[in-house]
């Protein structure tokens, strides 16, 4: 049975797509057959981050509308075995998604894949609702600042009430927090919320802390998931997060200025 994980946040620009790309790549690298679905219909980005934008022929909406079959739309990643991308349509909008269609696609994928990663659009409207509806787990991506934290809180409320698991009275969606763009220096100067602040407000387990890093932008621009950049702090932090997602006990890194000092100087943080 495939595990369906939604990457969500409420707020835009916090790193959902970067995280979707990194987590799915990390899972595939460890041998799990993984597909990542872009739910951001109309604002397609995942294909760029994954570096497969030139290979999109059919998309998620085509499959929902039965204009193409899954095998035609799935793009196999060239770098990592076991990794497939189902891109969003750029020419349609979120109304092209319907619950029966999404269910059919996810059911079909579940026969074949171990992990289905749903990259949610920002907001709490239809696209985001569709992305989270069938989820077993949710990774809530949050930046250490108040508006992002509040939006995440809102999304957690929706996950607890509007998902299929909630409606069917099953066990709730398993939620975890991924704090991105974290800068221990700025936390120390009081310009940013600390990990503990955010954990205290959101009250969900911490999956990982991704430090603010130049390498994320470079990775995005070159269409290479940052987790493949094994030298960067962000890549390592994502690698840790994937391990924790699979149940490993891994201590959190990159939380302290002092700790970071050595690595920071070496790799330019």
């Amino acid at each position: 049975m495939a595990k369906i994980i939604v990457i969500t946040s409420g707020k835009g620009g916090v790193g959902k797509t970067t995280t979707s790309a990194a987590i799915s790549t990390g899972l595939a690298k460890r041998g799990y057959k993984t597909v990542v679905i872009d739910f951001d219909v109309g604002l397609r980005n995942l294909d760029l981050i994954m570096g497969c934008e030139r290979r999109v022929v059919y998309d998620f909406v085509n499959v929902i509308k039965e204009e193409a079959n899954l095998n035609q739309a799935l793009i196999k990643d060239k770098r990592v075995d076991n990794l497939y991308i189902l891109p969003a349509s750029q020419t349609r909008d979120k109304d092209a998604l319907d619950i029966e269609g999404v269910q059919r696609v996810i059911d079909d994928l579940a026969k074949d894949f171990a992990y289905i990663i749903c990259d949610s659009p920002a907001g709490i409207e239809k696209g985001a609702m569709m992305a989270m509806y069938f989820a077993d787990e949710a990774i809530v991506v949050t930046n250490p600042e108040v508006s992002s934290v509040r939006d995440s809180d809102r999304v957690l409320g929706i996950l607890a009430s509007k998902t299929k698991r909630a409606e069917d009275n099953q066990d709730p969606v398993k939620e975890s927090l991924l704090l991105t763009r974290y800068s221990p220096e700025r936390v120390e100067q009081g310009e940013m919320l600390s990990v503990d602040d955010v954990k205290e407000i959101l009250a969900i387990p911490l999956l990982g802390v991704i430090p603010e890093s130049q390498s994320v932008l470079q990775a995005s621009n070159s269409g290479q998931p940052v987790i493949l950049d094994e030298e960067s702090d962000a890549g390592k932090a994502y690698e840790d997060a994937v391990g924790r997602l699979l149940g490993d006990e891994i201590p959190h890194r990159f939380l302290e200025v002092e700790k970071k000092g050595f690595f920071g100087r070496l790799f330019g943080g």
Binding site: D151, R154, L156, G157, A160, E200, L202, A203
Partner: protein
């Protein structure tokens, strides 16, 4: 022009029902004298005509079996107010209300059990709920708003227990009893109860206790960082809460209509 939909247009959800607490003015008849009611109502309204214009009026039918609902509704209308329903009527009156297009409000069940007489009157200004912007009006107009007095029945009030954090955008209302939240109430969340509210985590959102007018209701919380706290319609917003009251265990209660915040 109405579009006739041959290819069925699917509207996903055209409406939804929402429970909301609103302030209503209750007209409580003390003497069953229509002429006197008409005259005194006119005088009262003359004091604050804008406050009363088009306001919704609930007629308390409790006192007299012989009360002429239809006439009273007409008097209310003559004074440019809108009768919307009756409360506390018997079956006949409820039927009559339905016939003349008025709604029927359910009787309020006992919240506190200290009153054993069927009906105590007081002219205190207290609210059957709270709306944000009506409070100023409330103070300027000497109004006939009347506490909806508990009926005799003493029932054990159910306490609502919430184990999860109350998240931004969520609203939880413990009707007829207390509310216990074992976790935090997030910014942008709202918790309401007819009785007390206990929050074992931080209160960062809004908490309204005693929303049916119980002035004995209290709010207890660990870390008061609320957007708004209210007891029986009296409220304080974040800016009005002293900074030194914000840490640790606190209780909020009404002392002679003054809201007090006290460390425990």
């Amino acid at each position: 022009m109405v579009l006739k939909s041959k290819n069925k247009v699917q509207v996903e959800r055209a409406f939804e029902f929402k429970g909301r607490m609103l302030t209503l003015t209750v007209l409580n008849v003390i003497e069953n004298d229509l002429a006197a009611i008409d005259q005194q109502l006119g005088e009262k309204i003359a004091q604050a005509p804008e406050f009363f214009r088009n306001s919704s009026i609930v007629i308390d039918a409790n006192v007299f079996d012989s009360i002429d609902l239809k006439q009273i509704a007409n008097i209310v209308r003559d004074h440019h107010m809108v009768p919307v329903g009756i409360i506390g009527g018997n079956l006949n009156q409820e039927q009559l209300a339905a016939d003349i297009g008025l709604g029927v409000f359910p009787k309020i069940k006992a919240v506190s059990s200290d009153k054993s007489d069927i009906k105590t009157k007081n002219n205190n200004e207290s609210e059957a709920g709270l709306t944000n912007n009506s409070d100023e009006k409330q103070q300027t107009a000497e109004s006939t708003q009347e506490q909806l007095v508990p009926a005799v029945e003493i029932t054990k009030s159910p306490t609502m227990l919430i184990k999860q954090p109350v998240r931004s955008g969520q609203q939880i209302y413990a009707k007829g009893g207390d509310l216990v939240v074992m976790s935090s109430v997030g910014a942008g969340a709202e918790v309401l109860a007819d009785g007390h509210i206990h929050i074992y985590g931080s209160l960062r959102g809004r908490a309204l206790a005693g929303v049916q007018g119980d002035t004995q209701a209290r709010i207890f919380c660990n870390n008061l960082d609320a957007e708004l706290i209210s007891i029986a319609g009296q409220y304080k917003i974040s800016d009005d809460i002293p900074a030194d009251a914000k840490n640790g265990l606190v209780q909020i209660y009404l002392d002679n209509e003054q809201m007090k915040i006290q460390e425990l």
